[in-house]
């Protein structure tokens, strides 16, 4: 009889509704109440420093090449001590899709995603982050990596004194 199956369906549906009325709601009262995303959450991007406090970013342009929406731009330059660095570095967060490809491409662990998802501005130009807005004081998620120590060229230490390096060759030596 269809009338009985209809009543059964209504009662089952109502039962589900009543059941949830008595449970604790899952809705969070944002912004009064905030949730802590996991550390690997992909939101606002930062530029980190190496353990010695030097800027990690060497302006290699890999993140800007990897970015599918082309929202990173920069100009590389050379410091007096030979370090390559970003003269300016800009991320357009109004365009960023927080895919994390930039952080994945970065060979120096400079660019990292943070769980700070609250990026909301009244003026869209405020979403254009410059280097000074991006650069933080810490190492971010990796406490130890220092690119120049492993780079194998004499920047930030004398030639041949980096990790995995032998002392420079004596070209004029005669020993085989």
């Amino acid at each position: 009889m269809t009338i009985f199956t209809d009543i059964k369906a209504i009662l089952l549906g109502l039962w589900t509704t009543w059941k949830h009325m008595l449970r604790r709601p899952v809705t969070i009262q944002y912004p009064e109440e905030k949730r802590q995303p996991s550390p690997r959450y992909r939101a606002r991007i930062v530029l980190t420093r190496d353990p010695d406090g030097g800027e990690r970013c060497v302006a290699c342009y890999l993140c800007s090449a990897a970015c599918p929406v082309d929202c990173i731009s920069m100009q590389s330059g050379e410091r007096e001590n030979g370090r390559r660095f970003a003269v300016w570095f800009r991320i357009n967060f109004s365009r960023c899709i927080f895919c994390g490809l930039c952080a994945e491409a970065c060979p120096t662990l400079a660019i990292q995603m943070t769980p700070d998802y609250e990026i909301c501005k009244r003026d869209i130009m405020d979403l254009l982050y410059e280097k000074e807005d991006l650069l933080i004081d810490g190492c971010g998620k990796d406490e130890s990596y220092n690119f120049y120590q492993h780079a194998g060229i004499g920047v930030a230490q004398r030639r041949g004194e980096g990790a995995e390096e032998k002392a420079p060759v004596d070209v004029r030596g005669l020993v085989p």
Binding site: Y61, A151, P168, V169
Partner: protein, 598 residues
């Protein structure tokens, strides 16, 4: 003609061609470092391994060392050959630093490409790496020896191809070092080619150090504007700034290389004092008003009293319009050359030479006798000197005729030349393919006529990138040199088109208008100034010294470099469709605008 099979494709090649080249001819790429089309083989890198499955030779072989033979069956994909290449790359990478992010070669690096192509992705060796001390090689070239993979290309180019003596290879075993005996600027006028020829980042262009990556470059095929040879180049720009210039391959002209003058020339295009807006009496104005002002001023002059003066910097597109402009200015005098002697010499050379008589750089390199008549190629046409060296390496004698042809030019490329006083002493008649090189800036029209009576090919040199084009146009239209125009006393006003006029020559004659992209005395003294685009900012054509018309393409749009517009450290945060400093237009466009208002 040997016929062989490479990866199931039948290939027929000329005698003596290597298996590597045979494979390239049917688009089968084989990784290689030491082999280079201009330098040939060395067998140093061992990365071009292929397997010969059948035929006169069998087993793993180096394809660059092996001349193709009839009946060979070659496989580039045989597992043994693939494994060999992979392992060779792994050895080459053992000492290579981990510094691609801070290496300017990154993105256009043969070592990167072939490492990936050969399938070596993960480093297994965790021992320590050999390191070297670098040298200061002068203001143009950066040295990072840790990156070297010992392919010997640099030393072979520098010493054998270019005849340089101050750079080479030292040390033994894994200590092999490529550099100078001590720090110092490289002496060869072709040293910049080390940047292009090194397959990794040992030599990089210091003038564009740490500026941009290959995938962001604005590039287009272009022509060198520094002398009349018209070497093919690829200028590189980024953020409205010309960064560097590299060689572009053209077998008939410059081959694979260019000279240091062309490569490291002052980048005047970026210059801060470059005039970029139209000026009327020194104050900036819109295009419309400025062109009106030219037309108004020109109307004040009597017919025939204006001289339109151009130089061989001007591309053919603009130059070809000048006869019409002169007519529209009611019979203005047309001057394609300032100096009377150079004017006559250029016109004589350009009108006497036929395509059959003109020697390209390739013809010079394959000549069996070279005569350099009264000119110094180091100043006037450096790449010609490199071509002369190639001819000399194949046995051609080199004669330097006259006081204007100093022996030092031959020494610059380690060529042993014979110094002669007069041309008749050179035994041109006994050779099959002699080439006579002369300059329209040093020899008179009579001398050139005399020279060109010889049974030989000729390589005339002109005073700028479009010298031949201007001379041809000058011959085909009624033109005179500015010198004789001024002497006639008829000239009361001058319009200059990409041209500087010596103050002594001009005297009191006012410059009505100047079209140019560089700051110079003509621009400073002009009543009206109209900014034109430089060669990298437009499409155009130059006719080189042998009469070869070559197109150059627009590399970048005109505008003030972004690096000069920074506000508190970063580019301006405003939107605008107008490019700052984007006013310049190609000369032909400006000339057309002026003609429309006359």
């Amino acid at each position: 003609m040997p016929k062989l099979i490479i990866d199931d494709i039948t290939v027929e090649v000329a005698e003596g061609v290597t298996v590597l080249e045979a494979a390239q001819s049917v688009d089968i790429p084989i990784p290689h470092f030491c082999w280079h089309p201009a330098l040939g083989k060395a067998g140093a890198c061992r990365v071009c391994a292929v397997k010969l499955l059948d035929g006169p030779i069998k087993g793993i072989q180096m394809s660059c060392m092996l001349p193709a033979q009839d009946g060979m069956v070659v496989s580039t994909v045989d597992p043994e050959a693939v494994a060999m290449r992979q392992q060779v790359i792994e050895w080459l990478m053992i000492n290579h630093p981990h510094d691609c992010p801070v290496c300017d070669e990154g993105g256009q690096c043969q070592l990167q490409d072939y490492t990936i192509a050969c399938g070596h992705g993960l480093r297994r060796y965790d021992g320590k790496k050999r390191t070297h001390l670098n040298q200061d090689l002068g203001p143009n070239i950066e040295h990072e020896m840790n990156r070297c993979i010992q392919c010997y290309r640099c030393a072979r180019f520098y010493q054998e191809f270019a005849g340089g003596t101050d750079f080479g290879v030292m040390g033994s075993a894994s200590r092999v070092y490529f550099g100078r005996f001590e720090d110092g600027e490289l002496q060869s006028p072709f040293s910049g080619n080390l940047v292009d020829i090194c397959p990794t980042g040992v030599f990089t262009d210091k003038t564009a150090r740490f500026r941009a990556r290959y995938w962001d470059f604005d590039m287009a095929p272009s022509i060198c504007p520094e002398c009349s040879l018209g070497c093919n180049t690829t200028p590189v720009a980024r953020y409205r700034e010309l960064l560097k210039i590299s060689a572009r391959h053209n077998d008939a002209v410059n081959g694979w290389f260019i000279c240091d003058r062309g490569r490291f020339a002052d980048k005047k295009v970026n210059s801060f004092d470059r005039p970029r807006v139209p000026l009327v009496n020194g104050s900036s104005s819109g295009w419309g008003d400025a062109v009106d002002a030219v037309a108004k001023k020109a109307a004040e002059f009597a017919p025939g009293s204006i001289a339109v003066v151009a130089s061989s910097r001007l591309a053919n597109e603009g130059a070809a319009l000048l006869p019409d402009l002169a007519r529209a200015l009611s019979g203005a005098k047309l001057c394609f050359f300032s100096n009377e002697v150079i004017c006559r010499a250029s016109i004589t050379a350009a009108s006497q030479i036929t395509p059959h008589m003109a020697a390209s750089l390739d013809d010079v390199a394959s000549a069996d006798c070279i005569v350099i008549y009264e000119c110094d190629l180091r100043q006037e046409a450096p790449m010609m000197l490199l071509a002369v060296r190639q001819a000399w390496r194949k046995g051609a004698p080199v004669f330097l005729v006259g006081k204007g042809a100093p022996l030092e030019q031959a020494a610059a490329v380690s060529v042993e030349a014979v110094d002669l006083d007069i041309i008749v002493e050179a035994p041109i008649g006994i050779f099959d393919r002699p080439v006579i090189i002369f300059s329209t800036m040093r020899s008179s029209a009579a001398e050139i006529k005399n020279l060109m009576a010889a049974e030989a090919k000729f390589a005339p040199l002109f005073d700028g990138p479009n010298g031949m084009g201007m001379a041809k146009l000058a011959a085909a239209n009624s033109t005179i040199s500015l010198e004789s125009a001024v002497k006639s006393g008829l000239i009361k006003g001058i319009i200059t088109i990409e041209c500087v006029i010596a103050d002594e020559l001009r005297g009191e004659i006012p410059i009505i208008a100047a079209l140019d992209w560089q700051m110079n005395s003509s621009v400073k003294n002009a009543g009206v100034f109209l900014p034109t685009t430089a060669w990298v900012e437009m499409n155009g054509t130059f006719v080189n010294n042998e009469g070869r018309a070559q197109q150059f393409k627009k590399v970048m749009a005109p505008g003030i470099p972004v690096s000069a517009t920074l506000e508190s450290g970063h580019p301006p945060r405003i939107h605008s469709l107008d490019v700052p400093g984007g006013e310049p237009k190609p000369a032909w466009e400006v000339i057309t605008e002026i003609m429309k208002r006359l």
